[in-house]
Symmetry: C2
Subunit: 220 residues, 2 copies
Amino acid sequence: MSSQATKPSTASIIDLLGMLAYGELVAFDRIAADAKLAPDLRRRASLSAMAAAEINNYQRLVARITELGGDPEAAMTPFVEVIDAFHDSTAPRDWLEGLVKVYVGDSIADDFFREMAALLPPTDRDLVLDVLHNNANAEFAISEINEALGRDPKLAGKLALWARRLVGEALSQAQRVAAEHDSLTEIVIEGTGDLAKVGELIKRIMQAHSNRMTAIGLTN
Amino acid sequence: MSSQATKPSTASIIDLLGMLAYGELVAFDRIAADAKLAPDLRRRASLSAMAAAEINNYQRLVARITELGGDPEAAMTPFVEVIDAFHDSTAPRDWLEGLVKVYVGDSIADDFFREMAALLPPTDRDLVLDVLHNNANAEFAISEINEALGRDPKLAGKLALWARRLVGEALSQAQRVAAEHDSLTEIVIEGTGDLAKVGELIKRIMQAHSNRMTAIGLTN
């Protein structure tokens, strides 16, 4: 296999931005719904503000898709089913499950898009890096999870199981995306010149996830 | 009754801002939920963006309550039950009902807060006027409603009935608020020096609502 890296096609970039845009739109309404599970108004407002930030990102991505000559709705549509399927199969049953989902889900998605961003031309790379979640969301989730585990250490087992389910579902939907959308694997292959890099990318993302779980005490 | 106007107390102002803040927080999650009723992704995103704007307003109101020496959560709590009751009893069943609710509800709430704002000291007056909905929301709702009525004029009866139900529920909850929260009627009485002004205020708001319904063809 050649290791000749080339620039990804505009069609591939539009595909990636379309996936990210629909992901933001869904994240908005899922996090907005989870906010209602909050134990008090202050926490509810924190989660609502996180949701609102996704819409700002969504709008920037849609503007860029249009600028690249794509139709935002057409770019998002192929990802609706798979992203909805992920969220439908992982609806949090309570406040803490919602936060673990924000933390685990955002982090994995961010790692994935950060890897992809590195393979894009500068304008799109900067946009994708810019719309990734800021650390405030993760820090809020970590501090809530830590506080809950401090009060009731037995929660760790239940939440660790939940985190594993989230990752399992994410991986199974990611395989569907990869199978259905050559454009995304193409970005990796064109960007790195090597199909084997897809496997390495997944391995790196899973390792980072594993480290995060250990760091917040969700390993058993 | 004296017509001597005085400045409303800080406690009254905090009460008003608390009601408005909780209203924004709820508007956020109701509009976010309604967005899922949208017939396509573009419209869904438009409604999601409206929801997101409410959170920005919420944050400004909370900052001001804190600045005035109030506790935002304590200021909002007395209004949770009544505002939730309004929304629980008026959950839209489809996209158009959601838009009529945005239009009717936002407009009435805005008229009410605009009246109240006029009675506040400059800083709070400007803040309240500033967080009122911009016309973009209403224009989006009007254009969607007009388009739907153009396609199917028979919808007018159903939507007019829905609008009347919204107003009925709003009035009944407003009476509860007035009965339970002297501070709000106090703002009117202190601001105008006249209890009779409360009745005039309600009359003006209802007249404006009526004019809006006529303007979009929802009168039968």
